[in-house]
Symmetry: C2
Subunit: 330 residues, 2 copies
């Protein structure tokens, strides 16, 4: 893998404290528009590719068969924080299918949402699978599995759903996947090049509401995510706040280990970036800077300023440091 470039730094007391390097690619109509570091770097997209993993939900006809709304589609691409809103919606979705939380295969973890977390603890309740940040994606998986009449173990690599996701991944990235790993939610996650991921995002950007089944599916998912940022992540989170700050015109998605993608329909561009060390404070800062550079995000918007310079405040409210772009990056 080629050398990444310094992208984001943490400064404290006028001195450099920590540095984050990374790779980024912007793909346009004619190929790479701009790149930093190694555009050929092979990465795990992790949750940044949830809109690719949701393609079979629409393309098999499963979504329309059970009349999923745009909100369901947004939730199927979410890494949500398990707030009451998300738990309520995923629970109802499963019930409407005649399924239950027990049909999910994502596992349970404490919700990131503080209000819901505190409610559970005060009530002496444990988290359930609906709280898992990937439960919306898994509701989509259950929907497809039920539609196909396929085996309940929908995370197996040879399950028709995972085969369809692999095929869709290779088609939209226009490359053969380099292998796979197991994601935090136990789903297979296919490794692709950063360029492939950016190219896929550009395909989503260009897709309109007429055209092939694939194009219409891409368009619906892109629009669903941008229209419902609160379902894609949650209050206070980068995806939610930045999509709102861009007036719902751009679709963005984070992935674990500091991946970030953006779909910019008005510019017919796709963007993908990976911070080498996996720290999301840096991927959030870098995507903020790149979106501002593309002219689709106001760098002075509070949601942008929160990520870059991202003042580091301690528990007494004192500013102790701040994130900065590395010299030479943008």
């Amino acid at each position: 893998m080629g050398t990444p470039i310094p992208m984001v730094e943490l400064w404290r007391g006028g001195m450099l404290e920590s540095t984050h390097t990374g790779h980024a690619v912007i793909w346009g109509d004619g190929g790479i528009v701009e790149s930093w570091g190694d555009p050929g770097a092979i990465i795990f997209p992790r949750s940044s590719c949830k809109m690719i993993q949701a393609l079979p939900l629409i393309e098999t006809g499963a979504a329309d068969k059970v009349a999923l709304t745009e909100r369901h589609l947004a939730l199927s691409c979410a890494s949500h924080q398990g707030s009451a809103l998300h738990v309520e919606m995923t629970g109802r979705w499963l019930a409407d299918l005649g399924k239950s939380e027990a049909d999910l295969r994502c596992g349970s973890h404490e919700p990131y949402d503080k209000a819901e977390r505190d409610r559970l603890i005060a009530a002496g309740e444990g988290a359930c699978q609906l709280h898992n940040n990937c439960s919306g994606k898994h509701c989509g998986f259950v929907t497809v599995t039920r539609h196909l009449g396929a085996d309940a173990e929908y995370l197996e690599l040879d399950h028709p759903l995972q085969k369809a996701i692999r095929a869709a991944t290779e088609e939209v990235t226009e490359e053969t996947v380099s292998g796979y790993g197991i994601d935090g939610c136990s789903a297979p996650n296919f490794a692709v090049s950063l360029t492939g991921l950016a190219r896929a995002m550009a395909s989503f950007a260009k897709a309109g509401d007429s055209g092939s089944v694939r194009e219409r599916a891409m368009h619906r998912l892109t629009r669903a995510m941008a229209a419902h940022p609160e379902l894609v992540a949650g209050e206070g989170r980068a995806c939610t706040e930045l999509m709102r700050a861009m007036d719902h015109r751009v679709t963005i998605k984070t992935g674990a280990e500091a991946v970030f993608v953006a779909i910019v329909p008005e510019r017919r561009l796709g963007l993908a970036l990976k911070i080498t060390d996996g720290n999301s404070r840096a991927s959030e800062a870098a995507v903020t800077a790149l979106l501002a550079r593309l002219g689709v995000l106001e760098a002075s918007h509070p949601a942008a300023l929160k990520r870059l310079p991202a003042p580091q405040k301690n528990c007494r409210g004192k500013i102790t440091g701040e994130l900065r772009l590395s010299e030479g990056f943008l």
Copy 2:
């Protein structure tokens, strides 16, 4: 600053996912024994220098005047997790001084200890300053301040305590500090070279229970930390588990933004390392590898294996990845 070297990697599905670079220095009797990356890198030691910040507690006579025990000394060097044990001890310490939680200047944050966190939430109580991971250090600061009859605002740069800490830092690192930043607990944190920090740790390693006031103070703090690992961090934490795994013969301390130091009396060695990106999963893995290389930690001890290869398990207990040492480092 010179180029760091790859030290620790996250692997998933047989592929490299994330990389952490860093610098490290081992200082012995005659100078640098071994180094990686740039030994001259200027860093903020953050909490890794708490044993330096605690020197005035002993050297002013404050500790003995109020008959602090070895346990108090360990706690004064701690980044604890705010468990009931730590809260109880710091609260009693202040009461014994005729002081209270309100005299601390560290601020409040939710304790890292899950049992105490859940207890607070279930009881509808907020965290207090005793829960702050630095409250032991601040109890030490209050003790010195009271002993000196100095101003209650003990975190000001021109306060006699902070002046004494700065002087002690320059004496044990044998260099002039490069400046300062404000730490998470609002205390000034003086920037030093990694070599200076390793040299300071070697001085702690060599200090015996006879000798100068400084040497005896260093010896007492080193022994106090190693003797009471549960006070220095807490159950499940790296400092606590690894010091126990080394039979209390070695003193280690983590600092925010991925600093780690070790004091190895039996080898008269000091060690300091900094992971460039600030991720503590990597500093814990790197210090584990370095301590094993020095022959003071069994690489096969469960506390070591937990940090390297540090299997990444998801919420269903599936291993999804693991940390590995980078090729060329050790």
